[in-house]
Symmetry: C2
Subunit: 230 residues, 2 copies
DNA sequence: GTTGAAATTAGTACGAA
DNA sequence: TTCGTACTAATTTCAAC
C-alpha cells in the first residue's frame, strides 16, 4: 500500500502491460499542473482553469487516475506543527542478498518517510522524521543496527528544507527546450542505457569529488538481483 | 510559493507568534491521518471516518488549514508516466556566504523537486527528475557548475523508490510509545540542543563509517549564517 | 468534445445540548 | 465545544447537440 513504483517497472495496473497506458497530451499535463498545486480543486473549477469543458475534464481526470499517472491525493502536513521537528537522512549500506529483508523491515518503521535505492557509496537513503535528535540516535543504533541486512549507516541531519515542489512535470521546462529530450551533445554522455542497467567501470574516488563527477557505480554488486529479489 | 518552511522558524502565519498556534489533539491527528492518504475526501466523509459531526469536522479542517498544519493539498504524480523516468540526487558543497545566491538559482531550476540543507560532508542535497541520464549530466556540468556558489557536487542515481509515505505523523508510532518523547536513556545523546544550533566538535571520518556513526558537523562553517542570510 | 438541465452532494448558519 | 438540522450553493451526472 505504501510501496511506490519501480523506476523501470509497472505497478500492478494492467498485468502484462509494461509501458505507457495513456499518451499524455498538453491538456493532460495542464491538468496535472493544476492538481499538484491544488489537489482539492473541484473538477468544474479545474475545467475552467485548464480551458476545457466540464465533461472533458471529468473524462480526463478519471483517465489519469485509472491510468496511474495520478497515484493519489495527499495533504502536505507541517511536520514541525505535527510534532516531528527533526528530519534526518540515513545512508545505509545493505548486505548483499538481503534486500528483501531490508525492505520488509523498513515497512515496519513508521518514522521512515522516504527510502530510495541509490548508486554510489551507499546502497540506500532513508529519510526519517522524529521528535528529537535522541530519537534519531535510537533509530540508528537500536532499530537499524539490529537488522542483519544493514552493514553500515551514515547519518546526516536536515537543517532546512529549502525547496519542495509537489512533483516535477516535464512541462515545467520552458517551451523552448524539448521535454522529451533536451538538446545536448550526444557524445558527452557519461553512460548510455540508464542507471538501472549500470555496470560500467569502477570510478570510485576517495576524497573530495571535483565538479560534475558522478558516482555511477561502486556498490552495484548486490543491486543486480534487486530486480527479482523484491 | 514553492519555498518550504524552515525547521525552526514559522512561515508567515501570525507575525510575532513563533511557536505553535494550535494545540493538536488526537482528533486533529486523526483528521491529518485520513487527509494525507486521501486529500480529496469530502469533509462529510472525513467526519464520518474520524467519528465527529460534520460541523465539527468543518471547524477543525479550517483550523488546521489556517494554522498551517496543513500546508496544501497535492496530487502524487507518477513521474515515469509523466515522462521523467530518471531521478538523481546531487550533493552540493556550497561556497560560504553564497547561500542566498544558491537558493535563488535553485528556484530557477524546474527539474529540482526537493532541496535540503544538511550536515555532513556536503552542504545541500537536491533531488532532480529528468527525462534521461544525459539530462542529469547536463544539469550538473552546465547549470550547476555555472553557479559561483557551487563549489563541488557529487551525483548519485536513484534506482528505485522503495517507500514514500505521504508525510509521517507522530501518531504513526504505536500507542505504547510516547509521541512527544520516546523512551530512551538521556545520557547517550550524540549532542543535545538540536542540529539547528549545531557547532560541536569535528568528527569527520574519511573511509567507511561504522554502524551508527553520525556526520554531525564538518561543513558547518557557512551554515551559521544561514539563519539570517536567506 | 461541448453545452445545458436534473439529481445529488457539499458547504454554511443557526439553535440546542 | 460539539452536535443536529435546515437552508443555500455548488458540484457531479446524464442527457442531447
Amino acid at each position: 500500500m505504501t510501496e511506490t513504483s519501480r523506476n523501470s517497472a509497472h505497478e500492478g495496473g494492467q498485468p502484462g502491460r509494461i509501458g505507457i497506458g495513456l499518451e499524455l497530451d498538453a491538456t493532460h499535463l495542464k491538468i496535472l499542473e493544476v492538481l499538484r498545486e491544488n489537489g482539492r480543486i473541484s473538477v468544474a473549477a479545474l475545467a475552467e482553469r485548464v480551458g476545457i469543458s466540464r465533461a472533458n475534464a471529468y473524462t480526463r481526470f478519471e483517465a489519469l487516475r485509472a491510468d496511474g499517472a495520478i497515484k493519489r491525493f495527499t495533504a502536505e502536513i507541517d511536520h514541525v506543527r505535527a510534532g516531528l521537528g527533526i528530519t534526518a537522512l540515513i545512508f545505509v549500506t545493505v548486505r548483499q542478498q538481503m534486500w528483501r529483508q531490508f525492505r520488509a523491515q523498513l515497512a515496519a518503521m513508521p518514522e521512515v518517510e522516504y527510502c530510495a535505492i541509490t548508486t554510489g557509496q551507499h546502497d540506500a537513503m532513508i529519510q526519517v522524521r522524529v521528535t528529537d535528535v535522541a530519537a534519531v540516535h535510537t533509530m540508528v543504533t537500536d532499530r537499524l543496527a539490529n537488522i542483519p541486512a544493514v552493514k553500515a549507516t551514515e547519518t546526516v541531519f536536515i537543517l532546512d528544507e529549502v525547496l519542495r515542489r509537489p512533483y516535477v512535470l516535464p512541462s515545467d521546462r520552458g517551451p523552448g527546450r524539448s521535454a522529451r529530450r533536451p538538446a545536448h551533445d550526444p557524445a558527452d554522455s557519461p553512460g548510455s542505457g540508464g542507471p538501472a542497467g549500470g555496470s560500467g567501470g569502477a570510478r570510485s574516488s576517495g576524497g573530495e569529488v571535483p565538479l560534475g563527477m558522478m558516482r555511477f557505480v561502486g556498490a552495484a554488486e548486490g543491486r543486480a538481483q534487486l530486480q527479482r529479489d523484491a
